[in-house]
């Protein structure tokens, strides 16, 4: 394991460097796989970079009716396989983090694959290599601990009754230890019809 991905939204300054760097990549030139989201645009300019969290139980792959979304041995969930993807948008609707996007002109779901061409040979992902404020960081846990003594990485999320464990870590303040991050608390409206299918 040469490195892990750490996202620290507190440090994001909304400069769009990651978006520009992502669209530079030759595997999807001109189309950014990272989404820079505003938390609540009317009252704040705070932005959050959204990369694929690479879940241990990828919801996008679970809902894919065409068996198109695959996870490589190192835990990276890849873009839908072109010969199989039927452009049904199930993954787009199902992902708790809103990562997959349908590229209508290719009839293909494309998503962040942690710059697989780079990370698989030991380089940092494009976005993490350009982020000026350290909101996106790729490296070892020790490096992260040294840089952010006030923060700790969390990779457990709750989306309704769904608990999600991810490969990518989210940095949260240390002084108030958390077990998980509630994805839905960031939503404005109350989600409906939440029930645990396994109970």
């Amino acid at each position: 394991m040469m490195g892990e991905f750490f996202v620290d939204p507190n440090r994001c300054i909304g400069c769009q460097s990651c978006v520009a760097a992502c669209s530079e990549c030759d595997t999807h030139r001109g189309v950014s796989m990272i989404h820079l989201q505003y938390v609540d645009r009317p009252i704040s300019v705070q932005t959050v970079p959204v990369v694929c969290m690479h879940c241990d139980s990828p919801t996008c792959a679970e809902v894919c009716p065409a068996d198109a979304i695959k996870r490589t041995g190192d835990g990276v969930v890849q873009t839908a396989r072109k010969p199989r993807c039927i452009a049904c948008n199930n993954c787009v609707l199902a992902c708790p983090f809103g990562v997959p996007k349908m590229q209508v002109e290719y009839s293909l779901m494309m998503k962040c694959d942690m710059c697989y061409d780079r990370t698989s040979v030991g380089s940092k992902p494009m976005c993490a290599s350009v982020c000026p404020s350290g909101a996106l960081y790729f490296g070892s846990r020790e490096e992260m601990e040294k840089q952010r003594p006030q923060s700790q990485p969390v990779n457990t999320f709750r989306f309704g009754n769904q608990t999600i464990t991810t490969k990518v870590n989210m940095m949260v303040p240390k002084q108030k230890p958390v077990e998980h991050i509630d994805v839905m608390s960031a939503m404005n409206e109350e989600p409906i019809g939440i029930e645990d299918p396994f109970e």
Partner: protein, 180 residues
């Protein structure tokens, strides 16, 4: 050997792979397992496919045997000549009730009859006497009205021709001529 239960991804209910339904092993999320074709699965596929071919050949031989035993189809009256106008057509079933055929009177004393099933995908062909052809509306297949040979569209084999005989002011079907 790589096995589906070695999957890295965790099913949503968190239970181990041997407690999971079979489809999870058949459609793994992990790429290495998805790419894997086990030697045993491949051998099973080869054996079952070969067996299916053998069964198919045996079935064809059996069908040929039964067809030969059945003998020539009976001579059956189709209609009175007066019932068919020149340029008109009627349908009939020959030799079995489900073998739909079509009889066309192209001139005073000229009759042609063919099986109505298009040799492409068995849609019913319709006669177009003024254009001297039989048309299959499903995929725009055309057959020559005089001979039944395909002239355009997907069909490649001619329509089976029904042998005809005119006796005592009536027309009779006497046989089916299947042509390759």
């Amino acid at each position: 050997m790589m096995h589906p239960s070695d999957q890295l991804s965790v099913p949503p209910d968190g239970r181990p792979y041997h407690d999971q339904p079979q489809w999870r092993n058949d459609f793994p999320i992990d790429w290495p397992q998805d790419e894997l074709v086990a030697r045993r699965d491949f051998t099973k596929f080869l054996v079952l496919t070969s067996f299916a071919f053998v069964v198919g050949q045996a079935w064809i031989a059996f069908e040929n045997f039964v067809r030969k035993r059945r003998g020539a189809p009976p001579i059956r009256k189709i209609a009175d000549l007066a019932a068919i106008p020149i340029g008109g057509a009627i349908t009939f079933a020959y030799p079995d009730p489900h073998d739909d055929c079509i009889l066309v009177r192209t001139a005073e004393q000229r009759f042609v009859a063919y099986s109505q099933k298009c040799t492409h995908l068995s849609c019913a062909v319709t006669p177009q006497v003024e254009k001297n052809c039989l048309q299959c509306p499903c995929h725009h297949g055309f057959f020559d009205l005089a001979t039944g040979t395909p002239t355009a569209g997907p069909p490649r084999r001619p329509l089976p021709r029904i042998a005809l005989q005119i006796r005592d002011g009536a027309i009779y079907a006497t046989g089916v001529e299947v042509r390759a």
